[in-house]
Symmetry: none
Subunit: 196 residues, 4 copies
DNA sequence: AATGAATGAGGGTTCATTCAT
DNA sequence: CATGAATGAACCCTCATTCAT
């Protein structure tokens, strides 16, 4: 393993440790000493990789947004019709959160905390861009209503997050039927239905 | 002023102080000493009214949910047609958050923090119930799609919150046009459009 | 009830409350607020009767020493022979502590705390005097060894306290046999056995 | 100095600081901040070595009991006759307290405080065992009265403690004569004097 | 680069005492 | 006299960060 890979591995271990602890106990309930122990490194070591606890949290956010974006780009079959691609994308996003519940909780805590203000990618990460690009395409081609792209992408994103949270908290069981209904609700909201 | 009113006043002062500070600095960045100073009481006094910092935060959440619910119930003219009432309600909710931005930020931090787990009203406060009741009525009368009432009310609620946050962060300017569009997006998503 | 009696009653209630709480939780674990609540008075009221917490504790000590002395004086049949009177006295003292375990615990905490230094009756209360007087009589009449009276009375007193504590902590079960043995141990230690 | 020795040194410094302060001001009058300052460490450092203030106090008790036991074992010349050994042991114990008055005060505060209840070695430390063993030997060989060993050892121990406290408070001056008298008092109390 | 003991400011909380009612 | 809400100093403890090894 190269030197760089070793560093990358260690960073990942610290990220993983942080993610899990924040999910369980929140930012405040996650001391650096615990992060270190769970990551299998010394407390001081973390400070070789990250300037401060804040910097670590923010870096982790960026890292996770990037990882999610990667996965969302996979398997978008552009030969399919637009509506089908929308449903695919929406559900893929939803299921990503189901598979990575700690990521979801981390995101939600993060964007609703003072950290977010200090985050350079605030609202402009690759993930949001992917959704925005796709929706803009739909507007240009007349499949979707005309609306500020950013606005629409945030609404769509929010619908995914909300649904995943509902499912995970168990407040409402989301079966395949409900899932389809929610996706349909979003689609009905944004699709161009002029003439009806 | 009666003894009870004095107590109520003091509780309100503590609530107001907490609300403002949490909005600016988050839960962790809001020491009790500051809450006390801003409320014009001694640190120890807070503990006559609330068992702990956690208890204070949770009580504040309940209090604010109740206050918002009160306001949402006002002026619902039941003689109007259902769709109009929906748009009215949605916009009223939205504007409430614009007038009370610190409440919005507080809610969002709260529901995405470990506090929420320990909150007895978790997902079952009067505010959610008002929305749910209204939507259920719409489903029964055939104005809306059939969907799990809880699910739908959370989605609608989330659309309001998301819109208000977009507006307040200034990421997208929400003019009256955009506002109408978003409300329409939600309405189109939930309205019964079978036959089209 | 006269005014004075009312005051006496209230003082007694405060004393009783303090005694019980100190026994359970120690001085440090006994806040004035709890003393007040258990005594059925307001916190401020205590300060009408006692200058401070320290003063209360010290007054309680004096009060209890006096009460115990009273009881020890009762039933000392001076017509009996000296040794019998000694055994009677020793056992009476012992049983007093068994009947009033909280008094015993209070005494022991008190005399081993910094409070004791500030106690005017430090080592000179009526209770010690009764014992000392009785022992001096024994020395004068030749029943007991010659020894500094104060020293002997403290040793005897300590034997009673120690025995009672052993019994109450259950470290050693003190049956009537053991009790007799201990009293005998003390008697053999102090009695004039010259000539043997 | 090895790492372990450094740790041991630091623990000792904290112990010494605590011992001195508790002696002067009692447990409650001994804040951790002072313990730290007197020990020449930061407040937080203490918590690397002890879980809490309670844990520190309890650990100190165990440590001191062990130290005292060590010293008591030294120089017990088993070739001497039993009574001489008894007097030697008793006086050695007594003088240990004179040389280490803060230890005596600490012990007495400790065993009469709620801490003692939570102490794992409660009444079963090496020090008590040494005394008990010696007394049991005396009973087996017929030098001492038959009595529950635990009971007798507590009584003897208590006589030492009481004497030392008398001496140190200056209530009674204990000269070599008085010392001999007290040791004799104990010996006369426990020795087998059947036949007289 | 890695360690982890040490730091010490700052946090939440308690509680003896006061004083307006 | 009695009340008990209010005070605020002082407590124990945590934890982000540093630095000698």
């Amino acid at each position: 393993m190269s030197q760089e890979e070793i560093i990358a591995e260690k960073k990942k271990a610290i990220f993983a440790s942080t993610l899990e602890l924040v999910r369980e106990n929140g930012f405040h309930g996650t001391p650096m000493s615990l992060v270190a122990k769970k990551a299998g490194v010394a407390a001081g070591t973390i400070y070789h990789y990250f300037e401060s606890k804040d910097a670590l949290i923010i870096a982790l956010y960026s890292y996770l947004r990037g990882k999610m974006a990667e996965e969302m780009l996979r398997d978008d079959d552009q030969t399919l019709d637009y509506q089908t691609r929308f449903f695919n994308l929406w559900k893929k996003h939803f299921h990503y959160f189901l598979r990575h519940t700690d990521v979801l909780y981390f995101f939600e805590q993060f964007v609703n905390s003072p950290y977010y203000e200090r985050c350079p990618e605030k609202g402009n990460d690759r993930c949001q861009n992917i959704i925005a690009t796709f929706l803009n395409e739909g507007m240009e081609k007349g499949f979707l209503k005309q609306m500020n792209g950013k606005l629409m992408s945030i609404l769509v994103n929010s619908s995914v997050v909300t649904s995943a949270k509902i499912h995970l908290t168990g407040k409402v069981e989301i079966t395949e039927t409900e899932l389809q209904q929610v996706a349909q609700y979003v689609w009905d909201g944004i699709r161009n239905n002029q003439g009806f």
